[in-house]
C-alpha cells in the first residue's frame, strides 16, 4: 500500500468519513421508533475496515464505540463469503457484543469485487426478551435469563432481507413492532453510510481511499503519542469498588495497574476481583471499550477517536474476573457497571502521570422503572427514571457540571419534560432541584446531583425495579478533592418507616400517595479543599449550592 498520500487528499477523506458517520447519526435520530433511541439517543455509528480497525465514529455514546472493532472481528472470523447487499447482525456478549440489549448491524462496502469497509450501527433496544421487561434483571444468574442471544447472523443476503430470521427475532421480544421499526431504522442508517462510502471510492479510487485511511490512522497515532509523551513515566495503581452485586457480595474491586513509558500505555486489570453470579460482570468487548473510554477522556477532545488513537494503548485482563466473565455469565449491567469503575480506576492511576488531565469522578447509574395502572385511562404504564441526573466530576478546568450524568454517558442522555411526564403518567414531580451539598469539595467542586420528590398518583399499588450502583461509593475525588455524596433513594409510605432502596431490587411495592425521595449523587471534587478560593466558596453559599457549616461532600 502506498505510504505517501498528499495531506490535502488525506484531510478531505478524513473529513468525508466523519461527515458520513454524522449523517448516519442524523438519519438514525430521525427514523428510530422507540423513545430510548430518539430521545435518549442510546445508539452509536462507526466505520471499520476489514481488519476490524475503527476508522471513523460520531460522538454518541463513548462506551459503544470502543467495543465495535471487537464485534467486527467476530463477524470477519465467522463469515468468509461476504457479498454485496449482505447485512449482518449480532448482540451476544460472548460473540463480540457488549450486552444483549445492544444490537449491532454491519453493512459491507465494496469497491467492485473488493470488500474494504463496514458501516456499523449499534443501538440499545428497550426489550430483548428474557425473564424481565427491559433486559435489566438483577435476579439473573446466567445469560439465558437475560434475553435472546444472537451470534453473528446474516440478516440480509445479497440485498434480500431474510424474513424468516426477522420473524424469529421479533417473536422473542415483548414489543415486536417497535423492535422491527428500530431495526429498520438501523438498516436505513447503515445503508445510507454504505452508499456514501461507495461514492467516496468511485470519486477517489479505492486505492487512494485506502492509502488515505492508513495515513489518517498514522497521523492520529502520532497526535496521540505527542500528547502521551508529555505525561510522567512510571507504574501507577488505581482501584475502584462496586457497592455490591445484589447477590450478597460487597466491595467488588476493580484494580488497574497502568504502566506509562514514553508514548506507550499498558493497562493491566488482572488483579480485579473474581467474576460474580449476577449481571455486574463485564463482557470482554465491553471491558476493552471501558479502557478505551478512559483513555479517550484523558487525551485531547479534538483527537479523532479511531484505532490510531488507541495504538499506544495495550490492555491486559484475566478471564474469570469481574471485568471479563466466563461464557454464560450474566452481564447486562456492564455498559454502566463495572464500566464506570474500570474508567475510575484507570483515571485514578493516571492522575499521578497527567494530573492536569485527570478529572474527578463522574457519577454511577441508579435506574428505577415503575409499572402500574393509570387511573385516568385504566391503561398500564411503564415509566423509566431519566430525571434526577447525577453530578459530573470537577477537573483542572473548573467545577463540575450539575445534573449531567455518569462516566459512560457524560451529558449524552436527555431527560424529558416533567410537564409531559405528568400528562403521560400518574406521577407528580413535587420537587426537582439541585441537591445541595452533594458535590465533592475541592479546589474545584464536583457538580451537584438532583433532589427529586416523586409522588405516585395511582389508585392501586404499583411495582418498581431498580438496577445500578453507587449508594455506598460516591464518585471519587481527585488529587486531594473529596468524593461526591453517593446516591440515596428512599420510599416514603404513610404508616411505614422510610425504606432506603437498594440498587438491585425487583418488585418493590409502591402504594398510591407514596413518595420516592430520590437524591442522586454529586460529582467528585478536584484538588485540595484548602485551595478553593474564598470567592468561590462565597459564590457557592450565595447560590445555595452549599448550605450550613459543613463544606460539601465530605465523602465516605
Amino acid at each position: 500500500m502506498s505510504s505517501k498520500i498528499d495531506p490535502i487528499t488525506r484531510s478531505v477523506v478524513q473529513h468525508r468519513l466523519s461527515s458520513i458517520v454524522k449523517e448516519m447519526g442524523e438519519a438514525m435520530l430521525r427514523t428510530t421508533y422507540s423513545q430510548i433511541l430518539n430521545s435518549s439517543r442510546d445508539f452509536s455509528l462507526a466505520i471499520c475496515d476489514t481488519r476490524a480497525r475503527l476508522i471513523a465514529q460520531a460522538d454518541h455514546l463513548p462506551v459503544h464505540v470502543g467495543a465495535l472493532p471487537w464485534a467486527t472481528l467476530v463477524v470477519e472470523d465467522r463469515f468468509k463469503d461476504v457479498a454485496p447487499g449482505d447485512v449482518f447482525l449480532l448482540n451476544d456478549p460472548y460473540h463480540g457484543g457488549s450486552h444483549l440489549p445492544d444490537l449491532t448491524v454491519f453493512v459491507p462496502v465494496f469497491d467492485g469485487q473488493k470488500r474494504l469497509l463496514w458501516t456499523i450501527v449499534r443501538a440499545h433496544f428497550s426489550d430483548i426478551g428474557g425473564a424481565t421487561h427491559g433486559a435489566y434483571n438483577p435476579g439473573a444468574t446466567e445469560i439465558w435469563q437475560e434475553g435472546l442471544r444472537v451470534p453473528p447472523i446474516r440478516l440480509s443476503e445479497a440485498g434480500r432481507p431474510r424474513e424468516d430470521l426477522l420473524d424469529l427475532l421479533a417473536l422473542n421480544v415483548r414489543n415486536p413492532r417497535e423492535f422491527r421499526g428500530d431495526l429498520a431504522a438501523m438498516l436505513g442508517a447503515a445503508n445510507l453510510g454504505e452508499r456514501r462510502v461507495a461514492k467516496l471510492f468511485s470519486e477517489f479510487g479505492a486505492s487512494v481511499v485506502e492509502a488515505a485511511i492508513e495515513a489518517i490512522l498514522d497521523a492520529t497515532e502520532q497526535q496521540t503519542r505527542a500528547v502521551v509523551s508529555t505525561w510522567k513515566d512510571g507504574v501507577f495503581l488505581g482501584e475502584a469498588f462496586l457497592d455490591d452485586d445484589g447477590h450478597g457480595r460487597s466491595d467488588i474491586r476493580i484494580a488497574a495497574k497502568v504502566t506509562k513509558k514514553g508514548s506507550d500505555i499498558e493497562v493491566d486489570l488482572s488483579d480485579s476481583d473474581p467474576q460474580s453470579t449476577s449481571f455486574v460482570n463485564s463482557s470482554h468487548a465491553n471491558m476493552q471499550a471501558a479502557v478505551a473510554m478512559a483513555f479517550a477522556y484523558l487525551i485531547d477532545a479534538e483527537i479523532p477517536k479511531n484505532t490510531g488513537a488507541l495504538r499506544p494503548l495495550k490492555v491486559i485482563a484475566k478471564q474469570g474476573t469481574i471485568v471479563w466473565a466466563d461464557p454464560g455469565r450474566p452481564v447486562t449491567l456492564c455498559t454502566s457497571h463495572p464500566s464506570n469503575e474500570i474508567v475510575e480506576a484507570i483515571v485514578k492511576a493516571l492522575s499521578a502521570s497527567c494530573p492536569d488531565r485527570a478529572m474527578a469522578g463522574w457519577s454511577r447509574r441508579f435506574r428505577i422503572a415503575i409499572q402500574g395502572e393509570d387511573p385516568r385511562t385504566g391503561k398500564n404504564f411503564i415509566w423509566h427514571l431519566f430525571q434526577a441526573r447525577p453530578g459530573g466530576g470537577a477537573s483542572s478546568g473548573g467545577d463540575g457540571y450539575s445534573s449531567i450524568g455518569e462516566w459512560h454517558s457524560v451529558g449524552g442522555l436527555k431527560f424529558g419534560s416533567l410537564e409531559v411526564a405528568e400528562v403521560r403518567f400518574p406521577l407528580h414531580f413535587r420537587r426537582h432541584e439541585f441537591r445541595e451539598n452533594s458535590g465533592g469539595d475541592g479546589k474545584f467542586r464536583g457538580g451537584l446531583g438532583v433532589a427529586l420528590d416523586l409522588v405516585l398518583e395511582t389508585a392501586k399499588p404499583a411495582r418498581g425495579n431498580t438496577a445500578g450502583d453507587g449508594v455506598r461509593y460516591g464518585p471519587c475525588g481527585m488529587l486531594g478533592g473529596k468524593d461526591g455524596v453517593p446516591h440515596d433513594y428512599r420510599l416514603i409510605s404513610e404508616g411505614r418507616p422510610p425504606r432506603p432502596l437498594r440498587t438491585k431490587e425487583v418488585g418493590i411495592e409502591i402504594r398510591p400517595g407514596d413518595c420516592l425521595e430520590i437524591r442522586s449523587s454529586g460529582g467528585g471534587g478536584y484538588g485540595p479543599p484548602a485551595e478553593r478560593t474564598a470567592e468561590a466558596r462565597a459564590r457557592d453559599c450565595e447560590q445555595g449550592l452549599v448550605t450550613g457549616d459543613a463544606p460539601a461532600g465530605q465523602g465516605t
Binding site: 449523517e23 423513545q35 460522538d59 463513548p62 477532545a301 450524568g405 410537564e419
Partner: protein
C-alpha cells in the same frame, strides 16, 4: 413614494429603496454596533444621496420602512443583556441550568459548564402548583410571593421572567404574580411565559421567557430611539421590524416579543430568497449566504421557507417558531491550521473582521480562506471593495506559506487545500439540512449571496451534485431587498391537553376558531388591508418526544371528522420526513397554531435591464488556479446584460462580490440581469 428596507449586519448596514415603478437603489454604510441607529441614519443619508434627494425629502415621501436588527442577537452573543430574575414554581428553580441533562462535545470533560443567563441566586421559587390538567393543586401563596418580590427588589434585577409549571394551560397564577410585580416594582420589565410561549415543555418555555426578558429592555430602548430619530428626520410612515419567523410586526409588538427578533437579520435573506424563487419560477432553492465569519444556510422548498421551533442561539434555547436557518462557523475569515497529526483543518476559529485575514493588513497573521482566495488568484488584491480597500497579497502569501510548510506542500497546493476544506464544510451543512427536512438536495439550485459566496458556490454545488447556481444582482444586499416584500405576521399557539385522550372534532374546531379570532383581532389593530390565516398543528406518535409540524391549509373543517383528516396529514408528513408512518399507533395532538398574515401592497415588479445585442468584452485577464495556472478573463458584473453568455473559466467581479466559474461551467445572464450558472 418609497419603501425602504434596512438590514444591519456585523460590518455593513445595507439599504434598499424601491419606488412604485419598481426602480431600486442600493446603499451600504458602516454599521455602528454601539448604537445601530447611528449607522442606520447615516445609511439613509447615503441612500438619499444616491436618489439625489435630501434625507428629509426622501423620508417625507417614504411610507414604509422595514428593518432587520441584530440588537437582540448581539446582546445574546456578547452577553450584554438585562439583569434578569426568574420567578418560578417552588422546587423547580434549576430547570434552566439543568439543560435537560445534555452537554456539548462528548469527549471534553475538562471545560466547565457555561453560566446560565440567570444565575441561581436570582432564581426564586414561589409556593404554588397546578396539576397536569390545569387545576390548582396549591393556591398561589401571597406571603411567599411577597418574599420573592422583595428578594427581586434586593437583587437589583431590571427585568423579570415569570414561568410556572403548567401555566400554558391555565395562566391564573402567572397573571396574579405579574399584577403584583407590576404594582410593587413598576419600573421592571416583565416577561410572562404564558404570554411569550404558551406551550407545554418547561425547559423550552422557561428558557425562551428568560431570553425574552434578557433582550427586551435593549430592544425596546433601541427601537424607541430609532423611531424617534426617524420622526425627527421627517419620516411619517410606518416602521416595521422583521421577526425571526420572516414576517414583520410594528415596533410595539417587536418590543413585547423581543426574543422573536433574534434572527431578524438573516430572516430578511430568506425573504429575499423566497422572492428570487418567485421571480425566477424556480421553487427549490438553497439560499447560501457566506460572509466573513459564518455561513447561513436554509432551504426554499416548493417556494416556501420552512419554520421550526428547534432553535438555539449562543447556547440558549429559543422555542419560538423561526425560519429554519443553520449557521455554520465557516467564512472568509476562517483560519486554517495544521494539527499535531499533520491534518489540515479550516475553522471554526475565525479572524473575524478585526484583525481579519492576513491580507487585510490589520495585524492578522493567520492564514484564512480569504488569503487562500488571493493566492489562488480568485480575488484581485487591488480591486477589493471596488479598490476602496486594497489587499496585501504578500501578506496572504506569507500566511499561506506557513500552512504549506507544515504540510510539506507548495504554496498553491496549500491554498487549494484550504479552499477545498471550507467548501466541504459548507456542503456538509447543506446536506445535513436537507436530510433533516427529508428532501434530496440534487433537485435544488444554489442561490449565492453574501460577500464571499460567489467564490465558493460552484465547488459547494458540485460537491452536492447540484446542477445550477443563481447569483441575483442584489446578491450583496439581498436581506434588505427581501424585506421589501415581507408580510405582516402574528402567530398564536396553544397546547391542547390531549395526551391522555384523542382530541374531539368539536374541540379541534373551537380551538382553532378561538386562536384565529385572537390572531386576526391583534393583527387588525395594526393593519387595515387584506388578511389571510394559516393553521398548523404540532403532533407526534404516543411514545415519541419530538413533535412535527403539520400544515392544515385547505382542510375541510365542516367535514364530518376534521380530526381524521388532520391525523391523516400527520401520518403522511411523518412518512415524508422519516420514511415511515404507523397508522395503527396512537397520535397525540400537542399544539395548535394560527398565523394571521397581513398582505402589504407590493411595489411594481423590479425594473428589467435592457438586453444587449452585442457580446460583452472582458475588462482584463488574470492568472487563477484551476488545478493549474490559467489566464482567465475577468468581467465586470455591471457590464453584463440579459442575453450575454460566458463559458468558464471566467471571473466576474462586482463591487462587493466576486464569482468564480470553472472550465466547463456555463454562465448566462437572465432577463433580470442575474447570473444563471449551469454546472458541467
Amino acid at each position: 413614494m418609497y419603501t425602504i428596507g434596512i438590514d444591519v449586519g456585523g460590518t455593513y448596514t445595507d439599504l434598499v429603496a424601491i419606488d412604485e415603478h419598481g426602480t431600486t437603489v442600493f446603499a451600504k454604510s458602516p454599521s455602528t454596533p454601539a448604537d445601530q441607529s447611528v449607522g442606520v441614519m447615516a445609511g439613509l443619508e447615503e441612500l438619499a444621496r444616491r436618489l439625489k434627494l435630501t434625507r428629509e425629502k426622501m423620508l417625507g415621501v417614504t411610507d414604509r420602512i422595514v428593518h432587520g436588527t441584530t440588537v437582540a442577537t448581539n446582546a445574546l452573543l456578547e452577553r450584554k443583556g438585562a439583569k434578569v430574575a426568574l420567578l418560578t414554581t417552588e422546587g423547580h428553580r434549576d430547570v434552566i441550568e439543568m439543560r435537560e441533562g445534555l452537554k456539548d462535545n462528548r469527549y471534553d470533560l475538562r471545560s466547565p459548564p457555561p453560566p446560565p443567563l440567570v444565575p441561581r441566586e436570582r432564581r426564586f421559587g414561589v409556593r404554588e402548583r397546578l396539576k397536569a390538567n390545569g387545576e390548582i393543586a396549591i393556591p398561589l401563596d401571597d406571603r411567599s410571593l411577597d418574599e420573592a418580590i422583595a428578594a427581586i427588589r434586593r437583587s437589583g434585577a431590571n427585568s423579570v421572567a415569570v414561568c410556572f409549571l403548567h401555566s400554558y394551560l391555565n395562566p391564573v397564577h402567572e397573571l396574579a404574580a405579574v399584577e403584583r410585580l407590576a404594582r410593587e416594582l413598576p419600573d421592571i420589565s416583565i416577561s410572562r411565559s404564558s404570554d411569550v410561549l404558551p406551550q407545554i415543555k418547561e425547559y423550552e418555555r422557561v428558557s425562551t421567557t428568560i431570553v425574552n426578558a434578557y433582550v427586551r429592555p435593549l430592544v425596546r430602548h433601541y427601537l424607541g430611539n430609532l423611531e424617534q430619530r426617524l420622526t425627527e428626520a421627517g419620516f411619517k410612515g410606518s416602521l416595521f421590524i422583521i421577526l425571526s419567523h420572516g414576517g414583520m410586526a410594528p415596533v410595539e409588538e417587536a418590543s413585547r416579543l423581543a426574543a422573536g427578533t433574534v434572527l431578524s437579520g438573516p430572516a430578511g435573506g430568506i425573504s429575499g430568497a423566497r422572492r428570487c424563487a418567485d421571480l425566477l419560477g424556480v421553487p427549490d432553492l438553497v439560499p447560501f449566504d457566506m460572509g466573513g465569519t459564518s455561513t447561513d444556510i436554509s432551504l426554499i422548498s416548493e417556494g416556501r421557507a420552512s419554520l421550526s421551533a428547534d432553535g438555539t442561539l449562543a447556547g440558549q434555547r429559543i422555542a419560538l417558531r423561526s425560519l429554519d436557518i443553520a449557521s455554520i462557523a465557516a467564512g472568509g475569515g476562517s483560519i486554517a491550521t495544521v494539527d499535531a497529526g499533520g491534518t489540515l483543518r479550516v475553522g471554526p476559529e475565525s479572524a473575524g473582521s478585526v484583525p481579519g485575514p492576513a491580507c487585510y493588513g490589520n495585524g492578522g497573521s493567520a492564514a484564512t480562506v480569504t488569503d487562500a482566495n488571493v493566492v489562488l488568484g480568485y480575488l484581485d488584491a487591488g480591486a477589493f471593495m471596488g479598490g476602496a480597500r486594497p489587499l496585501d497579497a504578500a501578506a496572504a502569501e506569507a500566511a499561506v506559506d506557513g500552512v504549506a510548510a507544515a504540510l510539506d506542500l507548495e504554496r498553491i497546493e496549500a491554498a487549494a487545500g484550504i479552499f477545498r476544506m471550507i467548501n466541504l464544510k459548507m456542503a456538509d451543512g447543506i446536506r445535513l439540512m436537507t436530510l433533516r427536512r427529508g428532501v434530496d438536495p440534487r433537485k435544488f439550485a444554489l442561490l449565492s449571496f453574501g460577500g464571499a459566496a460567489g467564490l465558493h458556490a460552484a465547488e459547494v454545488a458540485r460537491e452536492l451534485e447540484l446542477k445550477r447556481i443563481i447569483v441575483p444582482v442584489a446578491a450583496s444586499v439581498l436581506s434588505a431587498w427581501g424585506m421589501l416584500t415581507s408580510d405582516l405576521r402574528y402567530e398564536v399557539s396553544r397546547t391542547h391537553y390531549g395526551a391522555a385522550a384523542r382530541i374531539s372534532n368539536d374541540e379541534a374546531r373551537n380551538l382553532f376558531k378561538d386562536l384565529e379570532q385572537q390572531a386576526t383581532g391583534r393583527l387588525r389593530a395594526w393593519f387595515g388591508g387584506p388578511m389571510t390565516t394559516e393553521r398548523s398543528a404540532e403532533m407526534r406518535y404516543g411514545e415519541q418526544i419530538f413533535e412535527i409540524d403539520v400544515a392544515l391549509d385547505g382542510l375541510d373543517w365542516n367535514a364530518a371528522s376534521p380530526v381524521d383528516a388532520i391525523e391523516d396529514r400527520f401520518h403522511r408528513r411523518h412518512e415524508e420526513l422519516y420514511t415511515y408512518a404507523s397508522r395503527d399507533q396512537e397520535v397525540v395532538f400537542v399544539n395548535a397554531r394560527v398565523a394571521a398574515i397581513g398582505e402589504v401592497s407590493q411595489r411594481g415588479q423590479d425594473a428589467r435591464p435592457t438586453p444587449s445585442a452585442g457580446a460583452c468584452a472582458p475588462r482584463g485577464t488574470r492568472q487563477a488556479w484551476f488545478g493549474a495556472w490559467s489566464e482567465v478573463p475577468v468581467y465586470a458584473l455591471d457590464d453584463l446584460r440579459p442575453g450575454h453568455a460566458l463559458a468558464g473559466p471566467v471571473i466576474i467581479e462586482a463591487e462587493t462580490t466576486t464569482v468564480v466559474v470553472d472550465a466547463g461551467d456555463r454562465v448566462t445572464v437572465n432577463a433580470l440581469g442575474w447570473l444563471d450558472i449551469a454546472l458541467r
